[in-house]
Symmetry: C2
Subunit: 371 residues, 2 copies
Amino acid sequence: MSGPRYTELAESLPATVPFVGPETQERARGRPFRARLGANENLFGTSPRAVEAMRRAAAEVWMYGDAQSHDLRQALAARMGVDMQNVMVGGGIDGLLGSLVRLTVEPGDAVVTSDGAYPTFNYHVNGFGGVLHKVPYRDDHEDPDALIAKAAETGAKLIYLSNPDNPMGSWHDAARIQAMIEAVPEGSLLILDEAYLEFAPAGTAPTIDPDDPRVIRMRTFSKAYGMAGARVGYAVAHPALIGSFNKVRDHFGMSRASQEGSLAALDDGAWLDATLARVSAARERIAGIARDNGLVPLPSAANFVSIDCGRDGEFARAVLAALVERDVFVRMPFVPPGDRCIRVSAGPEEALQVFADEFPGALQAARAPAG
Amino acid sequence: MSGPRYTELAESLPATVPFVGPETQERARGRPFRARLGANENLFGTSPRAVEAMRRAAAEVWMYGDAQSHDLRQALAARMGVDMQNVMVGGGIDGLLGSLVRLTVEPGDAVVTSDGAYPTFNYHVNGFGGVLHKVPYRDDHEDPDALIAKAAETGAKLIYLSNPDNPMGSWHDAARIQAMIEAVPEGSLLILDEAYLEFAPAGTAPTIDPDDPRVIRMRTFSKAYGMAGARVGYAVAHPALIGSFNKVRDHFGMSRASQEGSLAALDDGAWLDATLARVSAARERIAGIARDNGLVPLPSAANFVSIDCGRDGEFARAVLAALVERDVFVRMPFVPPGDRCIRVSAGPEEALQVFADEFPGALQAARAPAG
């Protein structure tokens, strides 16, 4: 009795995980975190109207969700001034990225991203046998010119850029991004990950041209709308590209309650505005904590702040470990020079005060030579 | 400006959908169904304890769900007498089938199923370029001997069998299935889809041997537990095979509320027992309606009954169309000779009475020569 025969590609893949979840860490530690500031979740929570919609929908989950996500796609399209045929809803940006990579990347195909950008995108590219070509960040920003040049050089099928950027929090303005779109090489597709867009200043996103085949935008209810656990993202692009998702997607894969919740969240502009104000204030608070400790906070257009810990990656990793030890869940960029930072998600004062209380001790512990 | 370059495989795929959802039909018709009896959803609903758990979780969806589905996998493992390492949770059986096919099937690989069995499995196999070899049903049952013989003949990587069967409702006993497992050819894997198992007589499922590499079981909260819209399925198999899902799965793809709901549903045995009794009575009621119309209901171990409409597929399709016209949502097998039947899901008397009221007229309309 042998086991199943895997594909050659599957045999070559590691069993891996792009991120270790906080629950996994809590089980390993044997105790919960006191401040959950590592996953860029929205600690200010979900619109009460969205919560109420999900509560109502809980009694209706005996029904499959609408396989077309019709009402949600319609509402999103109206909001963005595009047609429903320009919008695909999926299981978070993660799920949509997986489908898009599957549609475009076969073993050996070139894909371009920044060294230190979203690991889950890399996971999908590796998972379909693509070859990642990474360009460095420039002054803690993703570098549109270098990405385009690398794509032209390698004949890349996909170019990934997040704006605002995760994990650094930096951003480019709309004109710079539009110029990047104009420069996409023939046969390449720009994935513009706008997961954090709502937190950014006006003028960060270029106008959507729904007939431009060179770019696909990804947005989500996980961040500004506070619904990470509901798994709802959406993609906006040319109708031909959006239609191609129907070749591979799991048609009945969208949770019914999550669809209802997203629709209600979208309709609660007042809550969104209040959230954005809270996030803005929390960014200031995190920046202040950094400065109180003699450190430099990086400017951020997202719901987190990366704090330059002032030394190298080894030191920042020690700071992070000491914070985790003190029950503060944070994460950090993986790749130099970004890994001189730790990344702290915005949250209410209660959670940030825990961070403020523990950060000095964590820095001290990291500075102390190991016994 | 050209569009993206798709993979050769993606170019070859149609944009398709395994099933048209009832909401899609309702939008096309311009009015809702009065009886939703087509998707084998559980019209008796969800455990109130599960509903309450999802309601509580609604306010917590700002957090990602546990990427390990630890508590749910632990509870499922304990219930089945296996280890957590034998259990993978995913986005319904549909999602798990997609991952499994991705892990094992590359273009040209042989896969064996029954002609008329689950279309979504076929969708996944086609989506990864596999070559489907189909064997006929025998007396409205999937035919284990023919499936095994075809797998040996074609060198199939996967063999699909659902027990109880969808769409016919037929089933084999545990001894027959165990004999099939023993006969799985070297290098093949049997996918035993037990989505409808809870509705079946005791003695339908063979004992789980958690170290047997020849079979993977798929089960779900969509049917007996009444949570189709929550998207929670699970796979049970050898730890090496279960571990391989970590190479390709969307780690943070499970809805937080759905995980909580499933855990509560699993713990509400009284509700499950009551549901099974209701489904059993509803099967009798559907069978009675068939007989009242001079037709033969097929024996069923699932939460639906296939009714032999007494003529060919064309006639049954006309009956189905006439029912839909009368606001009764039902489906039917796609392939002869199964397509002489329509398939009616179990439900409360109110819904079945609508079916009982409209069925005679639908039969009459189908029998009348088209004007």
